[in-house]
Amino acid sequence: MTRSAAPGMAVAGAILVASLLAAFAIGHYPVSLADVFHVLAAKITGHAPDVSPVVENVIWQVRGPRVIAAVLVGAALAVAGTAFQGLFRNPLVSPDILGASSGAALGAVLGIYFSLGIFAIQGLAFVGGLVAVAAVYLIGSMVRARDPILVLVLTGVVVGAFLGAGVGLVKYLADPYNQLPAMTFWLLGSLAATSVADLMPLFGPVAIGTLVLIALRWRMNVMSLPEEEARALGVPTGPLRIAIVAAATLVTSASVATAGVIGWIGLVVPHLARTLVGPDFARLIPAAALLGGGFLLAIDTLARSTAVIEIPLGILTAVVGTPFFIWLLASVSKTWS
């Protein structure tokens, strides 16, 4: 890591740590920062913490799973957004560009429509995301064009709109008193129902996809050049594109299956990470993961603590993300012009 990247990485890490402390402390049962430190330190050193069992229970049992899920989902969306922005050489791309979110949404509303259990709903959402992107890729590669990237993006937009119509149809047919609110809530994104059992199905795909992307970090730098230039530099762009799309889709589908549709993180966080550590994917992917985790954790803490009812995450990220993105456009657009 060069001198210029270390401070940026430290800022990203500090934001995550601050979000973690706040997330453990804030809530309907407030915990002092000192107690949070005691409990976390005790976990690391293996001693028994000298706080009440209630506090320990709140931190590990009540808030723990949700905090971990928020960090994982935020990191996943930011990493996937980073990968897709590089792959499509376009800083306005988000992880759902190839229909992963629309596919997952259709899977989830179908699961709710057929009154399936929560794990079946999440499984359908996960599979829906993967199938949607695979379909986009197959259709896109059947079209013989000079610019495969453009065809892929256009196919993603069209298939996404088609799946959106499917979601609309299922919502229209759904029972308006029980199923429709559940669908709407899911589509707006939430971590309210997160339990320990959700963590492994989330962690596994996110870890695998992220590791693949980190392994391909240098190839991803080269792939962000024009197609023919990347090929002339010795990069087999076709197979690598499939690997990167698969890894980013795995990560996106797992997080959408757990938390519903949460926009903005995958669009905004990669930009922020790029201003902190530059465009080199070797640093950009870890920085985006730290920032995305910290950002969504902060949003989720707001979501469960500012109002009497839970605020859907998709709404909060949009409310925070829109002015933030406009500020970003105005102040740092030179870094990706």
Binding site: S4, P226, A232, V235, G278, W336
Partner: protein, 255 residues
């Protein structure tokens, strides 16, 4: 080593651009590819680079078909210098040059200290070592062209193929790039470049290849091939020729 196209038909699945083209380029020599817009220069360039499969015929590196090389192996032999462009992301100049080292490392590798040393030498070689830490998006067009030349050199290839290396450069930088092309050939590289200016071919190339409507009009030693009649036939426009008797040089003027 010899890069050669034999009886090539070039083009895309829906459009044939040129037919019956034979081209050879040996290491240590410079070949200039001239012709009007839409005549097939870029298509021929991409075919010789292995980026576009020939519709018929074969491109060979010595005795072996270019298509049989895996892409990293091909990139270690032939480098491509595209027309200088603005990148989407603000990579540093050093990172751009290090991308030339990609084909020398494994699929999951990143550049090593040795790669950095090679990149630094390539930048110094073209006199742009001081730009190392600058964003590639924030340097001038002439500097970008030199950085892309440095990247091609860092690739350590036998052949370097340049697409209109002087387009969009000022007069001084055009001369500098011509000079560097000669130097690359003197260092043993085979160099192929396209240009819209026959004077650049006179200046830097050993041989010239005249391509119009996908057909070879003439090919041979630059001095012999580049005359008034050939250029008028090539471009379909009048050409004037001027001599400097003291330097023993000629140059062409359009119109």
């Amino acid at each position: 080593m010899i890069l050669a196209g034999h009886d090539l038909s070039i083009g895309y699945s829906d459009r044939l651009v040129g037919q019956h083209l034979d081209v050879t380029l040996a290491t240590g020599e410079v070949l200039a590819l001239l012709g009007p817009n839409g005549g097939g220069k870029t298509t021929l360039l991409k075919t010789l680079l292995g980026l576009l499969a020939p519709r018929a015929g074969e491109v060979r590196l010595d005795a072996k078909a270019l298509g049989s090389y895996p892409s990293p192996a091909r990139a270690r032999l032939i480098a491509y210098v595209p027309q200088s462009h603005v990148a989407t992301f603000a990579f540093t100049v050093e990172t751009i040059v290090l991308m030339g080292r990609t084909a020398h490392g494994g699929l999951f590798s990143a550049p090593t200290a040795a790669d950095r040393a090679i990149a630094a030498r390539a930048l110094e070689r073209f006199g742009v070592g001081h730009l190392r830490e600058r964003p590639y998006t924030m340097i001038s067009g002439g500097e970008r062209q030199l950085v892309l030349l440095a990247r091609a050199l860092a690739q350590e290839p036998q052949f370097i193929v340049l697409d209109e290396p002087t387009a969009s450069l000022d007069f001084g930088n055009q001369g500098k790039v011509m000079h560097e092309i000669r130097a690359l050939a003197a260092a043993g590289h085979g160099v192929l470049f396209t240009t819209h200016d026959p004077n650049h071919a006179l200046r830097a190339a050993d041989r010239a290849y005249l391509l119009r409507d996908g057909t070879r009009i003439a090919e041979g030693a630059t001095e012999a091939v580049l005359g008034r009649e050939q250029l008028e036939a090539l471009y379909g426009a009048p050409v004037e020729i001027v001599f400097d008797s003291r330097a023993g040089r000629k140059a062409f003027l359009p119109g």
